[in-house]
Symmetry: C2
Subunit: 275 residues, 2 copies
Amino acid sequence: MTRRTVFFVSDQTGVTAETLGHSLLTQFDSHHFDRVTLPFVDSIDKAHDVVARINATAAEQGAPPIVFSTLVQDEFREPFRQVSGLFLDFFATFLAPLERELQEESSHAVGRAHGMHDLGAYDQRIEATNFALNYDDGTRTRDYERADVILIGVSRSGKTPTCLYLALSYGIFAANYPLADDELDTGKLPDILAGCRDKLFGLTIAPARLRQIRKERRSVGRYASAQQVNFELRAAEGLYRRYQVPYIDTTQLSIEEIASTILDRTGIERRTRKL
Amino acid sequence: MTRRTVFFVSDQTGVTAETLGHSLLTQFDSHHFDRVTLPFVDSIDKAHDVVARINATAAEQGAPPIVFSTLVQDEFREPFRQVSGLFLDFFATFLAPLERELQEESSHAVGRAHGMHDLGAYDQRIEATNFALNYDDGTRTRDYERADVILIGVSRSGKTPTCLYLALSYGIFAANYPLADDELDTGKLPDILAGCRDKLFGLTIAPARLRQIRKERRSVGRYASAQQVNFELRAAEGLYRRYQVPYIDTTQLSIEEIASTILDRTGIERRTRKL
């Protein structure tokens, strides 16, 4: 494998540059990429320092680095004319066609994308995160009417990370409730859930993967046994079908994919888009 | 304000398209954007459906929509030649220069950026998220050696969302410990924290903003009073200085900015970059 150093340069957090670069680099299999994020490049001096650092890396390694930039201000981009490497300039590429289409000059303001530009949206994310924490694992069930969605599933099927991701990324109020012996033995949802069936979304997972995850948590006893895992998953899926709860198999899915699928299938609207 | 509909089109979750589009749109102040994410466009039929939907919106509104696309496969992009609107194609724009630079053809594979392509990185994020939950708010303090960073600060200074974000986005193990009466009255860190000073990072916040946040949670009593808030913040900052704990003021910062600043100042390496 050929190694290349990749720099994510931003006048702000670097989150957009990382996201763009990551998406593109996953398309190249035969390289190994060493990744360096250089955030808060918000002065000409810092821009010169960054260029010097990148050029030093180029000289050391004998291979030109790849630079993903989301620098907004023209004056901070200027020093990068001297950079040794492939400079991919996100804002310069896309702002011009947007300016023409919108017939508005962009503000070229630093640090808007992941900042506090919109305090309402920000507070929404924090409130949603607190909600996800308070309503995690069935610890609280009153006020379910505030929930946009209530994820149900057996232990370790992916409920908690998905709820937190929905909250932090989109300001969505997501609760979760674990299906345990009570529900699985009787095949009945508790009244509190049966009362808000339109908010329920089920998660399931392949038995082998669930055993692997549970073993890491508790390697002995019934919890990760084949018999127990098979029983729980069969019972949970039976319950979803009986109550017509939409559900997905999370085995092959990342948190982002689970979250996007849920939003796509329920039609719940994203309140914010900040990550 | 002029209204425009913006579509984020992706063969996968749409997270990259949303992030890139969001960054660009924050540069335009005099428009209101209605945002629609259309994920999992992974067949030619779906691509045609999406184009029809976008063109219907264009006809209805009399203003051409803006389309941010991260479609990877050429055949799914083909129907978009007929789209009414500004089509901004992230992959087509940047893949070609990357292919030339790396002298490798990109795989044009769908759905890599936020998928389970790298199971190790995925498990890392889940493990880090569980760690953040278990080590939230000082509930557990043994095994602090596993922590990459331990955030300290008074109640509601931003510790929990930052820890969760560091875990979900970067697979970083972040614990947090609330500074309460014990520490603030004595000006002393508990032994467990004093023993890992190199992992500590402090958060502070402006008194007025903290009072506002606390009032939403509990509007009566000492908790949100000016006197109490002023005392706590002065004591916390005194403690950071006494123990030489690096700290930041989170008043004007988003979660992303707090997280990026901490990583930038501590040099902690991102383990994954998935959001």
